[in-house]
Symmetry: C2
Subunit: 438 residues, 2 copies
């Protein structure tokens, strides 16, 4: 059956950035088969169709969260402004508390939050990623799920770099899935050895999977690279031969012009996580130089202990404002450029620009409807401005992933949100008890 969405302004994010004021978009199975302004044209050749009334909303491509650790939502709002939080707080907390159950429950909740906020594809990096994969399939979200590899005994392994063994099985298990792609995520240069990084790269290459890492995020990471190798983090990774088009570099804050040239040369994808970088006082990624160089840049929330919320709408105004401020120029990064990073830009980072990221015939039907009835959404003189500067995740009224309606009238359809919420809250007591000992 064909689903036809009418009464919407369609922000296509195609090459011309066409906007169709009174648009019609139709979907067959999991694909977009019509984008235009004629209902007649859309229904021709189809007897069996259903009309979805967009009620004067704004239809945008599903948003893409290029870097997160969703299961950490279980810890959200704990110890937010604590210094050196990663080593002093997060790692110990995870070591004690993270197991399959917490990962699964957190993943379900995090996915619910992403879907309700208009994220249709996410790239996750955590432990027990098989649990995240199960949760993703259940709730019907597109996931790039990368198993973490670190130089200490992690929650899901009994030895250093145990994520490699976990990951190998994990990759086999999910190959050829329509929604899920899997792979490895060596955590960071400072939590891996040159050998473990190369091994991860070889496995990724053999399986043609994506690989992601926290890169040039921490000042101590930068200092250590200089001290040990007399190279910046990017130079160091490049020297290992592990940078390529399948590499997603998260954060990428502490980079110089030469680093940017390397990232371009190797066609590395960048996840820009501005909210988390700002809250953690990590610095500002030199995004204008990176755009000038033609790098592929998408947006990420980081984990909910760092970025707190998992939707991408909240990230967009932060990207706009912080870079205008740092560049002393209100004219840089206009709103269409920001929405581009949130959609097709993210798709490019994940090498999925031919499948998702824009509303075009032939692409997967990953769509988000923003209602324009709420007080913050009017008047609309410029759709991009309204989306970037006025919208909040509460304005997402319908979400379609892979042709399936997963959110309608702001309610999750692909799962029982009350159950998901109850399961998460049930974890609180144990977490609180443990957190107090840290």
């Amino acid at each position: 059956m064909v689903n036809i969405i009418i009464n919407v302004a369609v922000i296509t994010m195609n090459k011309n950035k066409d906007i169709i004021e009174e648009g019609v978009v139709s979907i067959l199975d999991n694909k977009i088969i019509y984008v235009g302004d004629s209902l007649e044209e859309a229904i021709s050749n189809y007897k069996d169709f259903e009309i979805i009334d967009g009620k004067n909303g704004i239809l945008i491509p599903g948003m893409i969260n290029c870097h997160t650790h969703i299961s950490m939502v279980a810890f959200r709002s704990l110890a937010d402004d604590c210094k050196d939080r990663l080593k002093r707080y997060l790692f110990p907390l995870e070591k004690i508390l993270v197991d399959e159950k917490l990962t699964y429950i957190g993943a379900k909740y995090g996915i619910a939050e992403m879907l309700l906020g208009g994220v249709t594809t996410f790239c996750d990096m955590y432990y027990f990623e098989d649990e995240v994969a199960k949760a993703s399939k259940e709730l019907n979200i597109r996931g790039i799920l990368l198993e973490t590899v670190v130089d200490f005994i992690s929650p899901d392994s009994y030895k250093e770099f145990g994520g490699i063994d976990y990951g190998k099985k994990f990759i086999k298990k999910w190959e050829n899935d329509g929604l899920i792609k899997v792979g490895l995520a060596p955590h960071a240069p400072y939590t891996n050895t040159s050998e473990s990084l190369k091994e991860c790269f070889v496995i990724s290459k053999e399986n043609n999977t994506l690989m992601s890492m926290h890169v040039a995020e921490m000042d101590y990471e930068f200092d250590e690279c200089i001290k040990k190798y007399n190279m910046t983090p990017v130079e160091y990774l490049n020297s290992l031969g592990i940078l390529d088009n399948n590499f997603i570099s998260a954060h990428t804050v502490l980079v110089n012009d030469k680093d940017i040239s390397i990232l371009k040369e190797k066609n590395v994808g960048i996840s820009h996580n501005i909210g988390a970088n700002a809250k953690g006082a990590k610095g500002v990624m030199p995004i204008l130089k990176m755009i000038d160089k033609g790098l592929n840049i998408g947006l990420g929330t980081d984990g909910p202990m760092s970025g707190n919320t998992l939707d991408i709408i909240t990230q967009m105004p932060q990207v706009a404002k912080i870079h205008k401020l740092f560049n002393n120029d209100r004219g840089v990064l206009p709103c269409d450029k920001i929405l581009e990073m949130a959609t097709i830009g993210g798709a490019r980072v994940l090498n999925m620009e031919n499948e998702i990221g824009s509303i075009e015939v032939g692409k997967k039907a990953d769509l988000v409807l923003l209602e324009t009835d709420s007080v913050n959404m009017q008047p609309i003189y410029d759709y991009y401005s309204t989306i970037v500067y006025s919208a909040n995740p509460g304005n997402v009224s319908m979400v379609i992933v892979d042709g399936k309606v997963v959110v309608k009238d702001k309610k999750l359809l692909s799962g029982d949100f009350n159950e998901i919420r109850k399961d998460l809250i049930n974890l609180k007591e144990d977490i609180l008890k443990m957190a107090k000992t840290l």
Copy 2:
């Protein structure tokens, strides 16, 4: 009749920042008469009472928007990233389009947005402020409404500084109102003369009214002050003798240590408008130094062409993140400090800290309930973190101003929102026609 709110976590924002996990707050007429944890105590002595179930929400003091131009919501999303926008775009647009009707319709819409977003008091600076006063009374919001004074013929006058005459009548008209306080707002140092500023000050003094101005916001303002007077904007205003406890300095970005000392000495209130300052690439107010000096600081959205949205919830994470980033320290400005600026801090700026800004017996009943059912609001380990880093204006479920419930179940009760919205959208065509000529 007494209204008693139960099943809420009460974030009092009193001196001790007490939090009452299972709190009870009761209201008689327009005042808070009980804050505690005992329903029994709350109902004693009262036969006639109504229970309001807070459904495990978070009750916070009504938020205060210390600087805005709400009627400009009519122009929201127009020409957002345009350079030198104030002089090239805003002033001409206003000159042609702003009249009593637009000001009134815009004010109604802006007030609806503030109430629905948890703002219970706002300080406005615009033309035709009498229209804003009428709208405020109708929708039941607390307004500090200041008539703009400028050195050109403004939309509501036929001569330069015509706002002074308008203001004098306006002040008489609204004296002794319970919700509305009125006064004058000389627009900025660069749009006033020393004489007009002094005249505004004298009128404010005679009538014991607040006065507000854009101060040290623009680089050309700063340069002009140095060139003409060899003084910073703050030094210049101080030299005129117009700074005192009734002065609200909006923006206050380009200030040095000496300026901060002057502002402290004169006990000037500061409206910190981070979102607008960032979007306009105006710079970052040196807030840590100002807090160290003990200045009174509240938060403001600025007008909706500058800050886009009118709620204060959206401002809070921006304040936290941008200052952490600029100070290279994730530990500065913890969340309780941010909520303080949004509530009691704003009350201090408006010299209303004995009436509003915290949940305490004897204060006016200006209260906001945040629901915690939405996906972004769980889990809660730290209320302040949840409010600052996770909440959005869509989480505001109930709002009480001066004892009256104006928003319930996320719907506006004090006005017909559909009508208000329709009136605003009806303005679009004329505005668009005119905007295209600029």
